[in-house]
Assembly symmetry: C2
Homo-oligomer: 170 residues x 2
Amino acid sequence: MRDTGMGAGLGGESLLFLTDEQLRQGIEAMFFAYRGFTADPDRILTDLEYGRAHHRAVHFINRAPGTTVNNLLNILGVTKQSLNRVLRTLIADGLVESRIGHSDKRERHLYLTDEGRALEQKLSDAQRARMRTAFREAGPDAVGGFRRVLEAMMDPEMRRAYARLKEQGA
Amino acid sequence: MRDTGMGAGLGGESLLFLTDEQLRQGIEAMFFAYRGFTADPDRILTDLEYGRAHHRAVHFINRAPGTTVNNLLNILGVTKQSLNRVLRTLIADGLVESRIGHSDKRERHLYLTDEGRALEQKLSDAQRARMRTAFREAGPDAVGGFRRVLEAMMDPEMRRAYARLKEQGA
DNA sequence: AGCTTACGTCAGTGTTGTTGACATTCCAAT
DNA sequence: ATTGGAATGTCAACAACACTGACGTAAGCT
């Protein structure tokens, strides 16, 4: 087994949790857990001819109603063309409403329709159910650690977006 | 704000960490963190004309040298056609070697070549670096919680695969 | 001999992402 | 008032990565 060479001679703190093997287990845990994380919504979506991209759009529009396309673009980290394709179908299907901005008429503000909210509800119910089970199994302390590690893993820009959404939801 | 209706009257334990808002923050944390998780390898891969699928294959072949195609299929959770496309390019490019099984000649055992190991090293160095920073920022207790929640989030089948890899690496 | 398993491949399709190019609309500055 | 830039939208082409379905080959099992 290889080692980073940083595990020895660092005083009382063993830092055993930073060995390459521990890090690799963390990487694999992320990989397998993300599969579970998306599995339930994915099943619902394939029945509805939608994909994960539609879920993400619906999720964040619900989370921040009236958000602009540009704002959504930054949160989702995709190109406007990619997002536009998804939004177009959602608007055409009557799940999302796009209203021209009042102060800046170039901007489009996005809202879920009743039907859109119904889908969001259905998807997030499924996803929250899994998250709830996992949180309950692991316990409150583990949940705190989970959140701290994930936050530290984000790119700074995403960490800011995440913090903004957190404030908004509280 | 909606509520699950499970937050009240449960005695001393408040279960505040299981509110819909907390769960939604967990969901968003997973989304943003996974982006960071894959960002560094993705950057390396695009330069090399490879994708995330190649990374996953190389990772697990390195992790379990001599693994069969079928075993890899189960771990990655994709179709054989999808995996085969990736394996074909990796073998053609001399990163992976496919050896016919000794006892069962139908099976192909997969190994990384020196060149394959070099790529795996490069990719996992980048990914481990981010994981290491995140782990160090969050601290050992948080890392334990992180791992417990992720494990609880996996599908049972993936939890078994994860456990098998853990034993193997120890 | 017949069935199953493991693997590979061909063909077609769908989702999601990417560039690049171009039009429109609007705000803001000269 | 015109010019420049930002925000949005659209079209086209393309690539990665997943899927299904069908077919073939070789090997193993009963």
